[in-house]
Amino acid sequence: MLGIHPVAFWITVFIIAVLAITPLIFLALDKTGKLSPSLRTDLWTRYKSWVVLAPLMVAPLLIHRLTAIVGVGVLSLLCYREFSRATGLFRERAISAVVVLGILLVTFAEADHWYAFFVALSSLTISALVIVALFADQPKGYIQRVALGIFSFSLFGVCLGHFGYFANDKRGSAFLLSILLCVEMNDIFAYCSGKLFGRRKLAPQTSPNKTIGGAIGAAILTTALFATLIHFIAPGTAVDRPQHLIALGLLLSVTGQWGDLVMSSIKRDLGVKDLGVTIPGHGGLLDRFDSLIFVGPAMFHYIGYFLGVGLDQPVRVFTGN
């Protein structure tokens, strides 16, 4: 539409460079003999998955706002599929159909750039779920069915949907790529700082490998990275002030880590190790994208409050006259 935003361009270059250099690092590590065979296989499986996943994530964001929106919609549907098959909600066909319809309509509202409808869909879909569940005339388990339906629509339809809406902004691709990059880096920072400084467990019952040191290290490093990126995406705007840049970075890091913990809680409650097998070496899509879920709304509304989202773009592209 308007050409690739410079920040989006440089992030893409960075990702390609990382993917190109990683095998060399693996080979160098392998030469030193420090990699056990199982660790080596694991690293290569994960790397191969990233080689497939990274273009699938980045390309739709760069091509057009509609490809980005459809991409987010597909991700929402696949996440719902994993969640519903892990919880057993998929057996409730009517509820599943409403959740899927809700996600499709959210995607349409984004594509149409119709914010009022995007907002309305929360209450409308929730009402539809509560009502449709009546039709089976089986009160036993009613609350569980409805609650799981609302829970999954809220997480994968509403929360993830905010990423799609972001694409309507002229800086959308730059915001989205920065968020994606920082959320992934947030995980890596937490892992590395946890290895270096992690002593006290963060939430041993929920996720035994996470440490407070890791969380704090990630918060500091991610904030620095994200603040820098936002500074270049929206220079001289209302968010380009130190206090807002820091707040945005912290918010991204914290909501990212919470998303991770939320999915860990869900997995522990269900008693499953992974939510799916979609991505070799990572588990399901949800195991990979869990940290994104709450980052979307947090970033959208913080940035939206100061700058608006897509205010200078045509609205109601399909439904308007």
Binding site: R85, T87, F90, R93, V100, Q144, L270, G271, G276, V277
Partner: protein, 241 residues
């Protein structure tokens, strides 16, 4: 307050290909739509092209579990039997199909799972373990199985010997087995033929048999096979036009 019960899909944690050929595969929203569309198309085809006539629908049990068995002469057989089931039972119905034909290539697997809702039976290595799994699912789900105890399609249209394996599914259980006879399918779609011919097919459904008092061991299984073979054969005799 009751504890919430989560029951992940039977095939949870399996890779896509393993899941398609798993005996624990469970239909999701997408497959339920493709299966319904396939069912409507097949019903239309059988009624229009083969003028399908079904007698004895009243013998079908009102709900799962039960097993439909029939003579096997063509690839239309499982489709015809499944299409005779009422709409509300469609999602419980699983044709039991030869693994080496229907679950060998990814494309066939996808078709068998997403359209037919078939479960695989591996003819070469069909041990008691697989039969036990099938039996558990039949009673536990509960499910409806459509199967052909001859084990393969008849090459000349005659009724072959019933294999005793079927007995492992129903011996010492109250699961009804519904004998059926398909008339005309061999002529309409012979094993060597390429295109199905527009000839009539007639499905006759007989009264169900139960085998609660038959021992779940080799002699019992053989007894069940013989009795069902007789029941299906009797439907053929009555069926001569």
């Amino acid at each position: 307050m009751d504890e919430w019960q989560y029951k992940p899909a039977g095939d949870h944690g399996l890779k896509p290909q393993e899941s398609l050929r798993s005996l624990k595969r469970e239909t999701g929203l997408v497959a339920s739509v493709t299966q319904a569309a396939w069912r409507l198309a097949v019903r239309g085809y059988l009624r229009g092209y083969h003028r399908l006539r079904v007698d004895g629908r009243e013998h079908l049990p009102a709900q799962a579990p039960f097993v439909m068995v029939a003579n096997h002469t063509s690839h239309l057989d499982a489709l015809t039997l499944a299409s005779a089931l009422p709409w509300r039972l469609r999602q419980s119905a699983f044709p039991i199909a030869a693994g080496d034909v229907f679950f060998e290539t990814p494309a066939m697997m996808l078709f068998s799972a997403m359209m037919l809702n078939a479960l695989p039976m591996w003819r070469k290595s069909c041990g008691p373990h697989a039969m036990k799994r099938l039996r558990e699912r039949l009673i536990g789900d509960p499910a409806i199985y459509v199967l052909f105890p001859e084990g393969t399609r008849s090459r000349d249209g005659s009724l072959g010997r019933f294999k005793p394996g079927l007995g492992m599914l129903v011996a010492e259980s109250s699961v009804p087995v519904v004998p059926c006879y398909l008339h005309g399918a061999f002529e309409a779609c012979p094993p060597k033929g390429k295109m199905p011919l527009p000839l009539p097919i007639h499905l006759r459904i007989g009264p169900p048999l139960q085998f609660a008092d038959v021992a779940n061991e080799r002699a019992g299984w053989q007894d069940i096979a013989t009795r069902l073979e007789t029941a299906v054969g009797a439907l053929r005799e009555r069926n001569t036009p």
